[in-house]
Subunit: 260 residues, 2 copies
């Protein structure tokens, strides 16, 4: 792929991000609305926490000196907390202050002019983890062989979601707070979270709607220039090509940011 | 995105490819099974024919001299014919011999050592256009304002599908013949193609199953080394990280082609 055709959106996170490729997942839906405008690159890693995500990020995100050769990352979503919030002694557990510091570090790897990964074109959005339904999760773990103890607590994941919002406020990065929107949609009844969660932890298609809708709303409000409605097809709509006096001119790739 | 993390699959085609991002579309399903192994880049352009695709390809596909900086394209699918087969005087119409020559040209832009776009890492698969249901298509066009005449014929699209197979044989490129598989699944009854087509022309979720299944089968047979079952996660499964004596070692990115 050429560096100068379509830029991209990068989704960084855990299994909730990796599962975004499910039908009606947020990666699938973003790909659909951004088709011919921005590519969607999914760097969701099931089971990962922020501690493990930092070295991963430093390996997949291009250093500033290499960025000119590569498609620009116009938007980076950072979505962690679901695994960081595991209860000790889980190896996935990351203490709350470290979780917050790790999120700040990820943001500043991109945004700080002193970082070797500094990417001036990259907008960042944080996403909170969804609320955990410990009834569903506990029942699921009990069916494993051997049965497993409950590994997450409702109130703990809530604290990690709050921490994401605090990091966003501190770093000046917008936050899609799906913890709150899903909790409210469930009438603040933990058992009723099953409407949006497959297994007490992972979102179903209805759950992903909060992520997708929240992202599009946040893009509208904070980064309207990259809302899909404000971007142009890089290669012209076919009827424009068909009707052009000079088709080879009409077929020249365009800057998605330059609307006619 | 770094050049040395995940390579990619590139889907080149018309609206049938662009629509691959629908839920259960073939781009969505490929993205899901290739997650953490290969990225999927969709260059489907609604309404385009092979004549317009050539200059587009020459703008988005990296020239050989630039490829070292960019993720490698491990697989390129080329899927045209649905618009080339429009009946004259449609501006989308491409005469059958020109259609065949254009497909050969696209293949050789990648495969010929003399091409400036020569990409030794890129495997190619051709896909035939699906059969047209002129009853559905005609009814759809009649509802437009103003009503439109039928723009495609069953037998003509069938000829373009045959031409794709001939080009594949001539160029030594495997072909996913969805024309035949869908026609057979419909019991060779044109009206019954509505099981697989939304509007007589575009595939529904069931129709895309032939594309996805056909691609995975062809990959198994012709390019087994890039079948998802034969590729490794670039970043290790979380339990391998959690259990590693040296986690920073376990978090080093790997070559997707090197299975343990």
């Amino acid at each position: 792929m050429n560096a100068y055709t379509q830029d991209c959106i990068c989704l960084l996170g855990d299994s909730l991000t990796q599962g975004g490729w499910e039908p009606h997942g947020f990666a699938q839906r973003l790909s659909y609305v951004y088709a011919r405008k921005l590519d969607v690159i999914n760097r969701g890693l099931s089971g990962y926490n922020t501690e493990w995500a930092i070295p991963v990020f430093e390996q997949f995100f291009a250093k500033s000196k290499d960025q000119e050769h590569l498609p620009k990352v116009q938007l980076l979503t950072i979505w962690f907390g679901a695994n960081d919030a595991c209860i000790p002694p889980s190896p996935q557990h990351v203490p709350l202050p470290t979780f917050s510091a790790n999120l700040s570090k990820l943001i500043n790897l991109v945004k700080s002019p002193d970082s070797p990964y500094h990417s001036p074109s990259t907008r960042v959005i944080l996403i909170t983890p969804p609320p955990v339904n410990t009834y569903q999760r506990g029942a699921d773990l009990a069916t494993r062989n051997p049965p497993l103890d409950l590994d997450r607590k409702f109130e703990v994941t809530q604290q990690y979601a709050e921490a994401v919002k605090e990091v966003g406020a501190k770093e000046g990065v917008p936050v899609v707070d799906i913890w709150s929107s899903i909790w409210e949609a469930a009438g603040k009844v933990e058992r009723d979270l099953s409407r949006y969660l497959n297994d007490g932890l992972h979102l179903n298609a209805e759950g992903y709607t909060f992520v997708y809708d929240g992202l599009l709303k946040t893009i509208s409000e904070s980064y309207p220039e990259i809302h899909p409605d404000n971007l142009e097809f890089v290669f012209a709509p076919w009827a424009d090509v068909a009707n052009a006096a000079d088709r080879s001119q009409a077929l020249r790739k365009r800057d998605a940011f330059l609307r006619k």
